[in-house]
């Protein structure tokens, strides 16, 4: 499993919400929910309010409720999420 994961970092202006590895991320993109797996092509998208679901390689999922506008970038197995606000 180890080579199937990638790193993800989630930031808001207030703090770094999350940093770790994941095998899949489901994000509320502007065109609808999108899934990201290992070796995803470079991508940049705007986010709309919704649930950001991060699953790690032991199968645990964490859900972040993103509020307001946001950004998601995938680049070389590194996902960066910039959200205006995330409810915890």
């Amino acid at each position: 499993m180890a080579n199937k994961d990638f790193s993800i970092e989630i930031f808001t202006p207030k703090k770094r919400i999350f940093s770790g590895s994941a095998v899949s991320v489901i994000a509320p993109g502007a065109l609808g929910y999108l899934g990201i797996l290992h070796n995803h092509a470079p991508l940049m998208t705007t986010l709309v309010p919704g649930n950001l679901i991060v699953r790690n390689d032991s199968g645990e999922t964490t859900i972040f409720k993103s509020q307001g506008e946001g950004f998601l970038e995938v680049f070389h197995n590194k996902v960066t999420v910039l959200a205006e606000k995330i409810a915890e």
Binding site: E9, F11, T12, P13, K14, K15, R16, G29, A30, L31, L34, A41, P42, L43, M44, T45, T46, E69, F71, E73, F75, T80, L82, E84, K85
Partner: protein, 285 residues
């Protein structure tokens, strides 16, 4: 020789003042810590945003957006002046004013908005200053709910051609003991430098125009938020240093006054002794 009672009263009043300055120093210290944490938590967000903007610029050479271009050049410039709401913070406000005064010499027709009551009070006395709206007072605290509408308002004036460009006179926080007033331009935005190492195909959703739009809007908000955080952090640090100096000065003053008081007391005792002794001698003769 000064009156002993007056000296004692003076010492007590300096001691009381010292208690106040010490308390203010502590309060400013706590606020400094908090806003420094906020500033340091904010920096990574702003940094990632610039990285993303640079990659976007690399993938879209020559992308265009109204926020990147000159606005209506016939319109006056806008100046946002970030100062403190209250005084007792040393030269913090004066240094921003000096910079703003130079700016207004260069752009005499500039319209001004003050954040912090001190800024409006100092400028209101000068002739020919046009305020765009009432001074805003956020009490040295950064709250997105106040700040985002303000940025939108600036953006709207810029895009509608009422203001040719926006500058922000504020203080940059360098360390707890060092800060520097600067007046950078906020609108139009500097074009993000493109990331030279980036050569891949980038998927952009929903389309490059709306990504560019949102990217730049968040970028400008982040820039302004960072300026505010820097200014507020610098303000607390300036106030803490000013109050620390005041407390130390009070210490010196108390020491000096105590010395004078002791001398006065000894002189009074000596005088009384001399009187007793010479009185006794006179009686013996």
């Amino acid at each position: 020789m000064q009156n002993l009672r007056a000296l004692r009263q003076r010492i007590r009043s300096v001691q009381n003042t010292q208690k106040i300055t010490k308390a203010m120093q502590m309060v400013a210290g706590a606020k400094l810590r908090r806003s420094q944490e906020e500033l340091f938590a904010f920096r990574p967000y702003a940094d990632r945003l610039s990285v993303i903007a640079r990659r976007f610029a690399a993938a879209h050479p020559g992308f265009d957006h109204p926020l990147l271009n000159d606005g209506n050049l016939d319109a006056p410039a806008g100046l946002v002046l970030i100062t403190s709401d209250t005084g007792l913070c040393g030269t913090y406000n004066e240094r921003v004013f000096a910079l703003a005064a130079n700016f207004l010499k260069e752009f005499p027709s500039a319209r001004v908005v003050a954040i912090g009551r001190k800024g409006s009070r100092s400028l209101i006395r000068r002739e020919g200053i046009v305020f765009l709206k009432e001074p805003v007072s956020w009490g040295g605290k950064y709250d997105p709910a106040d700040v985002l509408p303000f940025v939108d308002w600036m953006e709207q004036l810029f895009l509608s051609g009422q203001i040719s460009s926006w500058y922000v006179a504020h203080t940059q926080f360098l360390s707890a003991l060092q800060w520097k007033p600067i007046v950078p331009r906020l609108f139009p935005l500097e074009r993000p430098e493109s990331d030279a190492g980036f050569s891949e195909k980038l998927i952009v959703e929903p389309d490059s125009a709306s990504v560019a739009d949102q990217l730049l809007r968040q970028f400008v908000r982040a820039q302004f938020a960072r300026m505010l955080l820097e200014a507020f952090t610098a303000e607390h640090s300036a106030r803490m240093v000013a109050m620390k100096n005041a407390t130390e000065n009070a210490d010196d003053m108390i020491k000096r006054l105590t010395l004078i008081r002791n001398k006065a007391r000894q002189a009074a005792i000596t005088k009384e002794l001399i009187e007793v002794v010479s009185g006794a001698q006179a009686a013996m003769q």
